[in-house]
């Protein structure tokens, strides 16, 4: 492959890595801020994912250029197409993270500490782990390691589904008929679960690059 193509693809990968790092940092900060409802940290978390649309647009345009000028094939084609789809997943994960922060800033003072300890923190911890594993997959070349990582992300994503259900039940049991507040709390934590959904889609795309076959949703 031509040096120009290799360099431009490397740049796309580096830019995606940078976005994933931002997503990981934002969600790490959310996890740390959750128990104490540290609003400064929540606000700081937002700074890691600002201007995300323009960043993903720039990557998408670079990818379109790669496709138009270099017509990659086989693994190269899978890689470029997967990155194009990944930017959309990252954008939506970041949007979910932003909504999560907004919701938490609004209602975290009102959430029962037991529910936070028992369900909310493990939920966010699983989401965070899923993102971290996806981030590490971007640097992994070994197919077996990638499959293992994918399975780990799948487990974390399943855990977020279950923990969200438990959190929902706990909050509804504790609620004193303030429907609006309960709704806002649940809507906020739903976003954490959605971020994990995006992580599994990204893990799936990263496996597709190396394994091939047909592209399919998880």
């Amino acid at each position: 492959m031509l040096e120009n193509y290799v360099n431009e693809l490397k740049k796309v990968k580096t830019d995606i890595k940078e976005l994933l790092n931002g997503l990981e940092s934002a969600n790490t900060l959310i996890y740390e801020a959750l128990y104490e409802c540290d609003k400064d940290k929540f606000t700081k978390a937002k700074s890691y994912i600002k201007n995300i649309s323009s960043k993903t647009d720039a990557i998408d345009n670079s990818i379109i250029k790669l496709l138009a000028l270099y017509a990659p094939e086989a693994t190269d084609l899978r890689e470029v197409v997967s990155y194009l789809k990944m930017t959309n997943e990252i954008l939506r994960a970041c949007t979910n993270t932003r909504s999560f922060i907004r919701g938490l800033l609004e209602v975290c003072d009102y959430i029962d500490k037991n529910a936070i300890n028992e369900y909310a923190m493990p939920l966010q911890n699983s989401t965070l782990k899923a993102i971290k594993i996806v981030n590490s997959m971007l640097d992994t070349d070994c197919v077996d390691d990638l499959q293992d990582c994918f399975n780990e992300v799948l487990i974390e994503e399943n855990k977020t589904d279950d923990l969200y259900e438990l959190l929902e039940k706990a909050i509804l049991d504790e609620s004193n008929d303030n429907f609006e507040k309960v709704h806002t709390i649940l809507r906020a934590f739903r976003k954490s679960e959605k971020i994990a959904d995006r992580a599994i889609s990204m893990a799936n795309l990263l496996v597709y690059i190396k394994v091939g076959g047909t592209m399919q949703r998880v």
Binding site: L2, N4, I64, K65, Y70
Partner: protein, 262 residues
């Protein structure tokens, strides 16, 4: 700031005895240290234009040139119209400044060393050490040195097609041209040799400006910085390669690169 090594202005060309011009009012630059690709369907005039850039048409009499093709004189910094050249020694100098590589490799029936040294000897270099150094540099610059360094005295005809083409590039590079014109340089080569030549062209543009005619649009998009699309003797569109292949302004260009005609 970008500098042009060649500037084609209002250029028209009519072959000897032809009733109408094959090229009509062409205006385009060849930017320094960039690769400019000429694309278009057969008969559009891209090879005719390329061959006009070092007046190789003049090997046969009676052709008619109109307009200007200015070539940068590196020493004076002035642009000089190559269509005004009339003397034989000026033609030789022009072809040293503007080299040409053809579709089919054209090694001379002599040793690998002598092939590369040929142009240098015509240029008056007789010192054996200097000749050796210049040949080695040219072969290294053409990514052929490692493959031939132990058999420089062997016939060039024994090289593979891809190696012969790189030898021809070395022969052109040896005389330190300002521009090299490539007329479908890889159409007779297999994909591996094609890849090697493409990598070589991208490397060469650091030292020399390149114009290439190709029927392979992927090749044009992969390696060129600028692309000119020609059709029936007209220059339809000239722009950055990225623009031509992503957002062409002319419908004819879009139809051609998307395979709707041509």
């Amino acid at each position: 700031m970008a500098q042009n090594v060649m500037d084609i202005k209002k250029f028209s060309f009519t072959y000897a005895g032809a009733p109408a011009p094959s090229l009509k009012n062409i205006n385009m630059p060849i930017e320094k240290n960039k690769i400019t690709a000429l694309i278009g369907p057969s008969g559009c005039g891209k090879s005719t234009l390329l061959r006009a850039m070092n007046r190789i048409h003049d090997l046969y009499p009676g052709n008619q040139y109109d307009g200007r093709i200015d070539l940068l004189n590196e020493e004076t910094g002035e642009m000089e119209n190559i269509l005004e050249i009339k003397k034989e020694n000026e033609f030789i100098r022009l072809r040293q400044k503007v080299g040409m590589i053809f579709q089919k490799p054209t090694p001379f029936p002599m040793s690998i060393f002598d092939n590369v040294a040929y142009g240098l000897k015509i240029d008056g270099i007789k010192n054996a050490t200097e000749l050796k150094d210049r040949v080695e540099t040219a072969l290294k610059g053409s990514a052929l040195w490692n493959e031939v360094k132990d058999r420089l005295k062997e016939s060039a005809m024994g090289l593979s097609g891809g190696q012969q083409q790189r030898l021809c590039i070395a022969r052109a590079v040896a005389v330190k041209p300002e521009v090299i014109l490539f007329d479908e340089p890889t159409s007779a080569l297999d994909p591996i040799s094609t890849g090697a030549i493409e990598e070589l062209l991208v490397e060469l543009k650091k030292d020399v400006s390149i114009a290439i005619v190709t029927h392979n649009m992927q090749q044009a998009s992969r390696i060129s910085d600028f692309t000119a699309f020609m059709y029936l003797g007209d220059l339809i569109e000239f722009d950055k390669t990225e623009t031509i292949f992503l957002n062409p302004s002319e419908k004819q260009t879009e139809d051609y690169i998307t395979g709707r005609f041509g």
